[in-house]
């Protein structure tokens, strides 16, 4: 299977921040959700993937093109929308559509029209009068209607009301029905990531904490409630990401579930009361706090 | 006045109102040729006009200045109408291309030719004519000086092309800045209010210049000319698609014409009392107001009359309309040449007038037939 993108050993340094030794691959036709706090390096990573930034070390290859050298050829097939992107306030959406349409021969006018109806946008309205949600949807329209092979979205649902969020997620889901198209989107909203992504990547402090199949993530992690006295050595167990005591009640967050684990806990005097699956948000927070790989 | 917009390259107009406006322009053109021819026999212009004839008549002034007050306002109103018409058919880019082809290029080519022809004819007349006009006499003295005073170049009778280009640029500016709805909002006030306001809108133009108002021949735009002709152009532009607004004026047509006539008599009376220094001063308020009312109401009345009576296709008027542009570009050098030649021929002024006008129109129309109508020139000046 071809890779939508493949980055190997990539580093990028700024005066106050550094992205370090990132190795990541997205197979074609897959969706990757990039989760990280503000300042984790998500935008920097996306810039590297669009060729807007050149790595200080390592290699970046997107849709078979080496970046940043072949950024023009790559950007022809990439749709990129970021949270810090704005449209020209005094110009209408129609003006922007015409600009993009003339650059991209693959522009699908019928699809653009249907997106405009679905997003409830007016072509003749100056974009300066758009709300945040309308602006995000307009940027998404300008990306989607040119039928990109790779969609890179930086915080596409941040700040949207529930209706707008649903509209955006539905449009993304529609893109995903085409198995040749790939999507990487970053988000704080782990619920959106859980809903759409095939692969989940955690980024924190410029480092890649984890990247794995969503099912594996969700399958590997458990929250276990036990009763008893936790031995000191418990926190050194490699499969435990977090151990929390509240008197005799102990909460364990397990990063690599093993069916034999309850028996092992019983051996050290802990009585397992409950075993629950963990949500992505909980997994991420735990991973960050644990300061290591998921 | 010339048919600049419905040139050969545009599909034949079918709307009756387009016929009416086209015919109005043809008649205004004819009026322009006759007006320029008549100035040679005007007592008021005797001291200034190069071809001023030995015989003149106050009747010429009585009629000529009425033409002068309405023909150019009417031309610019119709020009404004057709500007919007062009924009709706071809967009702003199409309008600009049209203006370059039909106005800018003919202006740039015709202007030096007209200037050279008229300068040469006037110098020749200054040297050879036995019965020179006061202007030619003065010119003869100037030319005899070792250091002849330098006259700044002007646009001559082609000034209307210059202002048409200027107004086209102003249309683009107004649309780009979002101001194009101003006169449309004025029209929503209704025909009666428009008729009352129009003289007030053009009054500043008359106040800022002398009386009778001259041709704005300077190469620099004149505030007074923009203030006088601009509102007519803007009104015409706004009237496109809204000519029905003027329907209510139909029953006021004869009262308007009669009022204009009365005001014009008052204006003539004021003119007759002008002293020598008054010709050089800006018009007093009363004179300016009279002129503004005559120009405003007279133009509206002619427009309403034209829409009523000239809406049917007429072969003669259509021909005049097609030949108008070429005729108007060419007429003044031809007219001057003929009238310089007639200065030494003793004729009654009406005969001289008819001869000069007839020859001028014949030369213009013949040259149109031979050089323009069936050649590529018709796309530019046909």
């Amino acid at each position: 299977m071809n890779a939508a993108f493949a980055i190997a050993g990539v580093s990028k340094r700024y005066p106050q921040f550094a992205l370090q030794d990132i190795t990541l691959t997205l197979p074609e036709g897959q969706v990757m959700g990039l989760v990280g706090v503000n300042g984790a390096g998500k935008s920097t990573l996306l810039r590297l993937l669009t060729g807007l930034a050149a790595p200080d070390a390592g290699q970046v290859e997107v849709l078979g093109q080496r970046l940043p050298e072949a950024q023009v050829a790559a950007k022809r097939r990439i749709g990129f929308a970021s949270e810090d992107m704005r449209l020209y306030r005094g110009q209408t959406l129609a003006w922007h559509i015409e600009l993009v349409r003339r650059i991209y021969p693959e522009w699908d006018s019928a699809y653009a029209a249907s997106l405009m109806r679905r997003f409830d946008l007016r072509a003749d309205q100056p974009t300066g009068g758009f709300s945040h949600g309308q602006r995000v949807k307009a940027l998404l329209l300008l990306c989607l209607a040119r039928r990109p092979q790779l969609l890179l979205l930086d915080e596409p649902t941040t700040g949207l009301d529930p209706v707008a969020r649903a509209e955006v997620l539905e449009s993304l889901a529609e893109v995903l029905r085409d198995e040749r198209r790939s999507v990487l989107f970053s988000s704080h909203n782990t619920h959106d990531v859980e809903q759409l992504a095939d692969t989940i990547t955690f980024l924190h402090g410029g480092r890649l904490l984890a990247s794995a199949d969503k099912e594996r993530f969700l399958g590997d992690w458990r929250r276990v409630l036990c009763l008893g006295d936790a031995p000191d050595a418990l926190s050194t167990w490699p499969e435990l990401a977090q151990v929390r005591n509240a008197g005799r009640q102990i909460e364990l967050k397990v990063r690599r579930w093993d069916d034999a684990l309850p028996e092992r806990l019983a051996h050290v005097g802990l009585d397992v009361q409950r075993i629950d699956p963990m949500g992505l948000e909980d997994i991420f927070v735990t991973t960050v706090r644990a300061g290591g790989a998921a | 006045m010339p048919n600049l917009d419905t040139g050969a390259a545009v599909a034949a107009p079918t709307d009756a109102r387009i016929h009416a406006l086209d015919h109005l322009r043809a008649l205004a053109m004819l009026a322009g040729v006759l007006f320029h021819a008549a100035l040679a026999y005007s007592p008021l212009m005797h001291a200034f006009w190069p071809t001023a004839y030995r015989a003149s008549s106050p009747w010429v002034d009585a009629l000529a200045w009425l033409l002068h007050l309405v023909r150019m306002p009417l031309f610019f109103l119709v020009a404004g109408y057709f500007t919007t018409w062009l924009i709706e058919r071809r967009g702003m880019t199409g309008l600009m291309q049209h203006r370059v082809r039909r106005i800018l290029v003919p202006f740039l080519l015709a202007w030096p030719l007209v200037h050279v022809a008229m300068s040469a004819a006037t110098r020749q007349a200054a040297h050879t004519v036995q019965n020179p006009s006061p202007f030619l006499s003065m010119l003869r003295e100037w030319l005899a000086l070792p250091d002849s005073p330098w006259m700044p170049p002007g646009t001559g009778h082609l000034w209307f092309l210059y202002y048409l280009l200027l107004f086209t640029a102003l249309v683009w500016i107004a649309r780009t800045l979002g101001w194009s709805g101003l006169f449309i909002r004025l029209l929503r006030l209704g025909a009666a209010r428009v008729a009352l306001l129009l003289p007030l809108l053009v009054l500043p133009g008359f106040l800022l210049t002398t009386t009778p108002h001259p041709a704005p021949e300077s190469l620099l735009p004149q505030f007074w000319a923009v203030a006088l002709y601009g509102p007519f152009f803007a009104l015409g532009a706004a009237l496109h698609g809204r000519l029905d607004t003027l329907q209510r004026l139909r029953r006021w047509l004869w009262p308007m014409l009669a009022t204009c006539l009365l005001l014009y008599l008052a204006f003539l009376f004021q003119l007759s009392r002008f002293g020598n220094e008054d010709w050089m001063r800006h018009a007093p308020w009363s004179t300016a107001l009279l002129q503004a009312c005559i120009a405003g109401w007279g133009t509206l009345a002619i427009l309403v009359a034209g829409l009523r009576w000239l809406a049917r296709p007429n072969a003669w008027l259509a021909y005049l309309s097609r030949s108008a542009y070429w005729t108007y570009l060419l007429h003044l050098p031809v007219l001057f040449a003929v009238q310089y030649a007639l200065l030494d021929v003793a004729l009654a002024w009406p005969i001289a007038f008819l001869v000069a006008s007839g020859i001028t129109l014949a030369v213009c129309l013949l040259s149109y037939e031979l050089l323009v109508r069936r050649t590529r020139l018709r796309h530019w000046v046909g």
Binding site: L52, A70, Y88, R89, L139 | T176, S218
Partner: protein, 227 residues
């Protein structure tokens, strides 16, 4: 790195900047017509108003063309949108340089022609063309310097300083060239004479202008990526 220029997209970006400039152009043209009409009144007070207005328009064109196309684009974050299109830093540099030059030179040339028209068609001495040409060349140089700086430095404060400083330098420039016989001696007469020092100054202004633009093109175009 692929140094080939993506001309179709560059052309579209230039057209884009030109379209964004239309409202400003309309305002400048309107102001220019008003200035010319003041000059057309042929009165001393009107002449001063008209010529002052023409200079103001020229300086405004120089400053706002750069401000709108570069500084405002960064501030209003529309730059990110442009960078996401299939353009390399070199394409972007070329588009910005050419687009900016177009938006500046069109009103610059129009006003220059109008000024020449005023000089030749009014009683003003034709020799003023020498002084006028030097002033226009200074404004062109100041513009090129400001453009080169704006393409490199993101700080709005520094860019504003360079724009103002370069335009204000016109005062000492006028004082200096006023000492030249080739300027002051010619200004009152009808003959337009280009003396050696005047031609040297003019050549230096043009060479410096072109050098600024060439340097800006080279410096910005060699970046492999935008960030």
């Amino acid at each position: 790195m692929n140094r080939e220029l993506n001309w179709p997209t560059i052309r579209l970006l230039i057209v884009k900047d030109w379209q964004l400039f239309q409202k400003q152009l309309a305002a400048y043209l309107l102001a220019a017509f008003v200035a010319l009409a003041f000059l057309g009144l042929a009165k001393p007070w009107a002449f001063y108003i008209g010529s002052l207005l023409l200079i103001i328009i020229l300086v405004a064109v120089a400053c706002f063309a750069i401000s709108t196309s570069l500084l405002t684009e960064r501030k209003e974050q529309t730059l990110a949108f442009v960078m996401s299109l299939p353009v390399s830093p070199l394409d972007f540099t070329v588009a910005k340089l050419v687009g900016n030059l177009a938006t500046f030179l069109v009103p610059f040339v129009i006003i220059g022609l109008c000024t020449a028209l005023v000089i030749f068609s009014t009683p003003l001495p034709n020799g003023l063309m020498v002084l006028t040409t030097l002033v226009f060349a200074h404004i062109l140089l100041a513009y090129c310097v400001s453009l080169a700086v704006a393409m490199r430095i993101e700080s709005e404060g520094w860019n504003t300083f360079v724009m103002i400083a370069s335009m204000v330098m016109i005062n000492p420039f006028l004082m200096a060239i006023g000492q030249l016989h080739g300027v002051s001696g010619v200004a009152r007469g009808d003959a337009i004479t280009w003396s050696g020092p005047v031609l040297a100054i003019l050549s230096a202004q043009l060479v410096l202008s072109l050098s600024c633009l060439a340097f800006a093109a080279w410096w910005n175009g060699r970046k492999p990526a935008f960030y």
